[in-house]
């Protein structure tokens, strides 16, 4: 358990190149002790590189890592006391389940009693108790991943447990239970958990803080609520939420208003210095409301599709060549043809150069 500071970290895999491409652009960040973090981003955005830098498998091209204010940048992986779980199960095929779970403790010369106690505790949490004496290679893929996870959790004193999409191979029901277990472990032992994923639901339900990454850049760090309601960039708006945020090209018409296709939309953003500039207006489909009649901040759309998702309906409509999506309650009657949609000003986000104003 430790506070982890990443100070001015950047990394390139081709440092000798005259124009190296960076897998991670310079960033600084602090992971507080005992918290749950999720790193979210599309494939190849640098999530795994970041984890590998923290665990010591990759030495950053620049910057410094500190565990509880102690620099560890030059420390080898085995000396960092960190746990990492990979996307696919990595087990020691030749050992039993018990020996697999005990391995990290044996390497660090824990007493036999302590090893037994910890292995029992972890195997109980992960439902592996009945397999302890079986050869690990005979287990199913999801059980094998539980072993990988167990090896990460078996040491109580680790600085952090880093997980790289660990639940990919696990079936949905068990996935849900495991995420809850991980939360409980975090609350009980105050273990710092860092969870890499490209699944936003997983990130939103698991973490207290979410780090959104894109192309080696950290685009936003925040609570799930902030990411959802106030995405700092259009990328976060697109990436978080299903369906993605509605984003329209628009022009600033006054201090608080923008125009989309001649329709004026009032926002709570201060747009004084952007007058007549081209910006983007973003609004979540969840926040768009059905309006009975035309009023201020409504747009008239031609309904093109209604999809029933069981717990809500997704309306897709067109305003000129713009596509607007809105989530409405399932019970609400949907009129055919044209309808009015209301954009609440407090939920409208304005983006200039893809960044939130």
């Amino acid at each position: 358990m430790a506070k982890i500071d990443l100070s001015n970290i950047s990394h390139t895999y081709n440092p000798l190149d005259p124009k190296p491409t960076y897998a991670l652009n310079p960033f600084s960040m602090t992971w507080e002790n005992g918290k749950r973090y999720a790193i979210l981003g599309p494939s190849g955005c640098g999530k795994t590189t970041m984890l590998n830098i923290v665990s010591g498998l990759v030495r950053p091209s620049k910057g410094e890592i500190l565990f509880d204010e102690t620099p560890v940048t030059d420390l080898k992986t085995e000396d960092r006391n960190i746990a990492q779980v990979f996307q696919f199960p990595v087990i020691y095929n030749t050992m039993t389940v018990y020996d697999n779970l005990a391995f990290p403790l044996r390497c660090r010369e824990f007493t036999k009693e302590k090893i037994e106690e910890r292995v029992k505790a972890v195997s109980d949490t992960l439902n592996l108790s009945s397999f302890l004496n079986s050869p690990a290679r005979k287990l199913t893929a999801d059980q094998k991943q539980l072993i990988s996870l167990g090896r990460g959790l078996v040491r109580e004193d680790v600085a952090a447990v880093l997980m790289d999409e660990p639940l990919t191979v696990i079936d949905p029901d068990l996935k849900f239970r495991l995420r809850r277990n991980l939360k409980e472990i975090n609350e009980q032992y105050k273990t710092t958990l860092v969870y890499v994923t490209h699944d936003q639901n997983e990130a939103m339900t698991f973490a207290e803080n979410i780090i959104v990454m894109d192309q080696g850049e950290i685009v936003q760090v925040g609570l799930p609520k902030d990411l959802f309601e106030k995405p700092k960039t259009t990328f976060v708006g697109y990436f978080i939420g299903s369906p993605a945020m509605n984003i329209f090209h628009s022009t600033v018409s006054s201090d608080h208003e923008v125009k989309i296709n001649d329709t004026t939309i009032k926002t709570n953003s201060n747009l004084g210095n952007l007058k007549d500039k081209n910006v983007k207006l973003g609004i979540r489909s969840e926040f768009i409301e059905l309006a009975e009649k035309e009023k201020s901040n409504t747009v008239k759309i031609k309904l093109t599709r209604v999809e029933d998702f069981g717990n809500f309906k997704l309306l897709t409509g067109k305003m000129g060549d713009l596509v607007i999506k809105s989530k409405v309650e399932r019970e609400k009657p949907i009129p055919d043809g044209e309808l009015n949609l209301y954009f609440p000003p407090e939920k409208c986000c304005v983006y200039s150069d893809e960044k939130l104003v």
């Binding site: 992986t77 960190i82 199960p89 990595v90 020691y92 390497c107 893929a141 990988s148």
Partner: protein, 282 residues
């Protein structure tokens, strides 16, 4: 249709079994014959067709002074040279293969794959090309006609096989396995011998099998690099031949020569059939 399929299946299995086993049975039967039984008429079954004799086998252990061809010493020489060279090749080859699989080497245009190919290219060359350099090399360091000299040459011949098989094997062991071991607290050496090596036992066995086979059956270098002091089994077996081909002792020597390989095959087969040869752990 299914009856025809079953019939054909059993027919081919039977045919193949006979094809493989018949020469052995023929050799076993012939090894107990004498000149008369071999040359008079076609005979198959001992006691019924011909009177069995141990003469063919006795020749193999009788000293040349008593008209025999003593293959006991060459036999043990062969075992010593093959086992020593195989063991050293496997140890060195495994270490080289691990490095070639896990680290990136660059020297000019040479990359990992080129180094692996360089190893195996030793085996692509016709042996005759290597014979003169080996001869000069061994005579320079004074190891011509000695067991140690043969061990050195055999290591050169067998290590490429070990490297080639093990590189391929290690490439199929995910590098996350090594990384996990490091994270769990092993240093790189411990990660290799506590985690990667035990996972690679099937690969080691296959590499060992090939080294033993190629070492054991080599005639060419054993023939060129030894004279009187040291002799290996294949050379000695050839020495059995004379103007009248002694089929009985040749058969007996063929059987004792192939025996160690059959034992190796039985041991290896147990590992092959376990189905755990694949390196991937997913």
């Amino acid at each position: 249709m299914s009856k025809l399929y079953t019939f054909l299946k059993y027919f081919f299995i039977t045919f193949w079994t006979v094809f493989v086993v018949a020469p052995f049975l023929w050799a076993v039967s012939t090894s107990f014959k004498d000149f008369q039984s071999v040359n008079s008429k076609v005979t198959y079954i001992p006691w019924l067709d011909f009177e069995p004799t141990l003469e063919g086998w006795r020749v193999l252990i009788k000293s040349p002074a008593k008209g025999g061809v003593d293959i006991v010493e060459p036999y043990f020489n062969s075992i010593f040279v093959t086992c020593t060279a195989s063991l050293i090749s496997i140890v060195l080859g495994t270490l080289a293969a691990y490095a070639l699989s896990r680290f990136t080497f660059k020297a000019g245009f040479v990359r990992n794959n080129d180094i692996t190919f360089f190893f195996i290219s030793q085996r692509i060359m016709p042996p005759i090309v290597l014979s003169i350099p080996f001869f000069i090399f061994l005579s320079t360091i004074g190891l011509l006609d000695s067991l140690l000299g043969l061990v050195v040459v055999y290591i050169v011949l067998l290590m490429p096989i070990a490297v080639w098989i093990m590189v391929d094997f290690f490439n199929r062991v995910p590098k996350e396995l090594d990384e996990t071991a490091l994270i769990d607290g092993c240093n790189p050496y411990q990660a290799f011998y506590k985690v990667v090596l035990p996972n690679s036992i099937p690969g080691l066995i296959v590499a060992g099998m090939f080294c033993i086979i190629f070492g054991w059956i080599d005639f060419f270098f054993a023939f060129i690099l030894t004279f009187t002091e040291v002799q290996l089994l294949p050379v000695k077996v050839v020495a059995l031949n004379s103007s009248i081909t002694p089929w009985w002792s040749l058969s007996a020597s063929a059987l004792v020569s192939v025996a160690p390989l059959i034992i190796v095959a039985f041991i290896v087969e147990r590992y092959l059939s376990k189905g755990n040869l694949s390196g991937a752990l997913k």
